[in-house]
């Protein structure tokens, strides 16, 4: 198991590094410009007040306030770019973990050895989990030294909350992607299905926020449960979201492992 994880880790260390560096780069940019933004916060708030509420809701922003770093970074980064990076990273790992091996024709090399299919599945899953934790640690908690560096006031607890929410959100996306990866034999198909599904979820969330009579559609979207704004601006961890993500993680992982164990490769 250890060999499976470490080898997979070694093969993907560059992509992990690229995602982490990109995430840290975004953080640095936002933290560095925040002092000048905060000095103009009152003007920005006035400007935002003139925006139509529907427009703001469409982008998942319902509280516009630039008076704290957390409010600003939630709106600029954690409501859009960060989850997008997380989603792409997780789908990419899951796609390569199972379907990618079949696609490349290397699955026979692995399964010709005394490695059970379940062990391979768990090994790849654990790698995804570890990579997710590293990504979150690097791209969320780095805000603390960056804020110190730029002399910006911050609330560390709120980053812990967004990390927990992000961990469950990322694992839910990863588990579902692993299920799709266990079902299909082409990496591209996993990306297409998962990418399409998440775009659809995003659209459902937007539509639900715009139309009162369609508001229940939001419950079908991961983006409804990943409420970065509440986590960062209010410091609230929505337990319903955690339970929904946990349910998706458990069900997807069990079904994915069963499918992988039984299918032809």
């Amino acid at each position: 198991m250890k060999s499976l994880i470490t080898r997979f880790f070694k093969d993907r260390r560059v992509s992990l590094l690229v995602y982490c560096v990109a995430g840290i780069g975004f953080l640095e940019m936002y933290v560095a410009i925040y002092p000048s933004i905060s000095s103009q916060a009152a003007r920005f708030n006035e400007l935002f007040a003139s925006y139509p509420q529907e427009f703001l809701k469409a982008f998942g922003i319902d509280r516009l306030d630039m008076s704290t770093l957390e409010n600003y970074i939630a709106m600029e980064h954690f409501s859009m770019i960060w989850p997008l990076m997380l989603v792409i990273f997780m789908i990419s790992i899951a796609g390569g973990a199972l379907a990618g091996e079949i696609d490349r024709g290397t699955i026979e090399l692995l399964l010709a050895r005394p490695i059970s299919r379940l062990k391979l599945f768990i090994g790849r899953y654990l790698y995804g989990f570890i990579a997710l934790v590293i990504f979150i640690l690097a791209t969320v908690f780095t805000v603390i030294p960056l804020a110190e560096m730029h002399k910006v006031t911050y609330d560390a607890d709120r980053y812990l909350i967004i990390s927990i929410l992000g961990l469950f959100f990322g694992l839910a996306v990863f588990s579902l992607s692993m299920l799709v990866s266990a079902l299909f034999s082409e990496r591209g198909r996993v990306s297409m299905i998962m990418g399409g599904s998440l775009v659809l979820m995003y659209v459902l969330n937007v539509v639900a926020s715009l139309k009162e009579n369609l508001s229940d559609l939001k419950y079908l979207s991961f983006f409804h449960y990943f409420d970065a704004q509440s986590a960062l601006t209010k410091g609230e961890l929505n337990w319903t979201s955690i339970w929904v993500f946990a349910g998706i993680i458990i069900v997807s992982t069990i079904i994915g492992a069963m499918v992988w164990k039984r299918r032809d490769v």
Partner: protein, 298 residues
Amino acid sequence: MYRFFKENMVIIEVSDFKKYFGKTRAVDGVSFSVEKGEIFGFLGPNGAGKTTTIRCLMDFLRPTSGSIKLFGLDNQDHAVELKHRIGYLSGYVRFYDKWTGWDHIRFFRKFNGQSDSSAELIRRLDFDPTRKTGQLSSGNKQKLGIILALQHNPELLILDEPTIGLDPILQNEIYKIIHERVLSGATVFFSSHNMPEVEKICNRVGIIRQGKMVAVQRIEELKEKKVYRIHAHTDGAFDLSRFQTLNITVLQSLEHELNLEARGDINPIVKELSRYQLKELTIERAPLEQIFLEYYEK
């Protein structure tokens, strides 16, 4: 008693094995067994079901019905345990392009246990393990595939076209290695399109066609099928109608020449040919390849 059991131990036992892909019957009720120490050649035209059978033996594909036992154990229930004892070479061997040969050998060694003969195999196959596999020629990839299949000294070798892409010198080295492994107690199951290769190294062959096993025979038995090729040359013309009643196939008939394929007793043909003033007569055993091809075409 123990010795008798060991010598006759069945290593591969396939019973009424079927594999369907939707409505396509890739393998349709195949049964055969391979005993310890045998080199069993698995032959058949493209699309006959050879690779499907091999991939089911390896538990990559799951049979639609029937049973596959290796070393007396169900190959699905004991997959991990069995793979300690199996060396497998795919017919479409693929590697991780960014890894070197060493990366592959070292990584898979971790799963195979203590026994390792990779250094000797590298030397004998003249393989450079320092290069990334993405840069290797097809022949060198095949060498690496063979090293990975044999490095842990397995008791059963399942090889899908092991010598494809290799030059004759390396082919002979592979045959030598296979024979040495058999002498030290291994069993070999391999598929090939190379008929002289099969004739050279196999004890027994199974021929699959359209998903069904059409023959399982010892090489000696096939050789005893007594198929002859007869070439006769005379001054006069042959009267073909007189040959019609004999057990022959006319391969070519020219004015003064006759090429025949005959089976079984050739005395009536020789008697008939003796009626002519022959300038030349050659009678030779048909190559085994001819006999294989007949099974392919039946």
